[in-house]
């Protein structure tokens, strides 16, 4: 069977991201998964056990300052060379900012079609995408070149399938044109040890109804009790209650968790765009006519400052 290249997403703090495990699981349906690790020195070694656990038969590693010290372009050059050499059945990347950007450059370098925000990929290369804020389901195909797709987090359940990957170090030969955008600093702002927003199986979000930044502690508390990530509506972000990287909606992140809890969020179309493919939706809002209730599987009309602390207390009791 042909190789399927999976470009690994990982963080220093949490290691291999869940979307990578989803991609490896998907890749096993299409061929033999090979993981591609692009990062600083020693990156592949730190990740290889996890990648093997989910079926990576091979790991290609491109490591060092030439890869890690610049924005995206060197990574695309390395993957493009690898694609030309191994002629894979497909190339999978995460549908994250960086995953899409690497894929963008690959598409131009290889003059190859690209499909983003893919939630399923059949053996014949037909991809399923969700468009227009989750309102439309699209089946599409790359018609020039190999399937080059970016996979949206939480599209499938990752399943382990142990393999013992052989690691091949790639020779990195990037051009000067790849080194035009230099990363001079990386600053972490993520708070605590909560799961990453797009990958979390539970997301608890707060909106304008939360009232102020301090009150977001309530949202965080419920998120922590449920083992979830914290999100925020655009209204809450614009009002300065919570940082932008946690914004869920049309101009923020798209999430698709098992459980989405909306606190003090009216459910404007801008917000629904980012969360309406969630499996189960729960809402608390003082306005019984708020549109969020039209999509909530369970809604409580009332004062979130009474309901949320009570719910938190009840969860503690049950633990």
């Amino acid at each position: 069977m042909s190789e399927v290249l999976v470009v690994v997403e990982a963080t220093k703090e949490f290691g291999v991201k869940k979307v990578t495990l989803e991609m490896l699981t998907l890749a096993r349906e299409l061929g033999t998964p090979s993981a591609v690790v692009l990062g600083g020195a020693g990156a592949a070694e730190a990740l290889s056990a996890k990648l093997g656990e989910y079926g990576a038969e091979k790991i290609y590693a491109a490591e060092g300052e030439e890869i890690d010290g610049y924005l995206v372009a060197p990574k695309a050059t390395v993957v493009a060379e690898l694609v030309k050499r191994v002629q894979p059945a497909a190339v999978l990347l995460a549908s994250s900012q960086e995953g899409k950007e690497i894929a963008a450059r690959l598409a131009v370098k290889l003059d190859n079609g690209i499909l983003t925000d893919v939630v399923g990929l059949a053996a014949d290369g037909t991809a399923t995408q969700v468009a227009f804020a989750g309102s439309t389901i699209v089946k599409s195909k790359v018609t020039k070149g190999l399937p080059l797709v970016t996979v949206r987090p939480n599209s499938l359940n990752p399943a382990p399938a142990a393999a013992t990957p052989a690691v091949e170090q790639l020779t990195v030969s990037v051009t000067d044109a790849d080194k035009l955008a230099k990363v001079v600093d990386r600053v972490a702002e993520q708070k605590g040890s909560r799961p990453e927003l797009t990958e979390a199986s539970v997301v608890v979000s707060g909106g304008r109804g939360v009232g102020n930044a301090d009150n977001f502690k309530l949202v965080e508390e419920l998120a922590d009790l449920l083992g979830g990530a914290v999100g925020a509506s655009r209204a809450a972000v614009d009002s300065g209650f919570y940082p932008h990287q946690f914004q869920v909606g049309q101009t923020g992140k798209t999430v698709s968790p098992q459980l989405y809890v909306a606190l003090g969020i009216s459910g404007a179309i801008q917000h629904r765009a980012g969360m309406q493919t969630s499996k189960t939706i729960v809402a608390v809002n003082k306005d019984g006519e708020a549109p969020i209730f039209e999509l909530a599987d369970y809604g409580v009309v009332g004062d979130l400052f009474k309901i949320v602390p009570q719910a938190a207390e009840e969860i503690r009791k049950r633990k």
Partner: protein, 259 residues
Amino acid sequence: MNIVVLVKQVPDSGADRNLRSDDNTVDRGSANNVINEMDEYAIEEALKIKEAHGGEVTILTMGPDRATESIRKALSMGPDKAVHVVDDALHGSCAVATSKVLAAALGQLGADLVICGAESTDGRVQVMPHMIAERLGVAALTGARKLTVDGSALTVERQTEEGYEVVTASTPAVVSVWDTINEPRYPSFKGIMAAKKKPVQTLSLGDLGVAPAEVGFDGATSAVVEHSKRPPRSGGEKITDEGEGGVKLVEFLATEKFV
């Protein structure tokens, strides 16, 4: 500094949006078409740079005739002029082909700095800045929440999932911006009047030296096979809190095995 801002006309994301049943492209005919919201932040950033450092701001749009409305709207914020790439053969173009056309137009315009929104609200594909930079062989500083210009030196704070990265480059470059970067100005009455007289140059594929077979459906590198509307969600149980709302909420979560 010669700044070009990429502006895309998109169907209003606040209304129902559809794909056409005949050719599977975005239904623009029945939609209320507006400037891609994120592009207004790109325009604002370009105007701020011009105000601080001098230069000229040009709007570049690829789209059908009706995109003229969005171009005038963009010009009413303050840019100097616009270039509209319009050609019937462009209908059905994929992202790869679109980047080829935009790169050809940018090559003619000779921009020092290209600014665009981080993504459009219709496709949300997020690939255009890097595709264009790859074709032009210039730097791409993407996902900026802050941009600093010092002569030819550019520094951005790039929003990431963990926080941000500080990324530097020199012009010429492509910068894409998130909506946290600034607060776009509203067009003034004077601006709206002035926009009507600002030059809008139209360019065809022939003007750009791009063959019709390289774009549109003929040149597309991907295709929509079929599409369908997702059944809308329906609301479930809704209770009014009478003192036990929090407990009842947890009871629901427990039946769904989240607690």
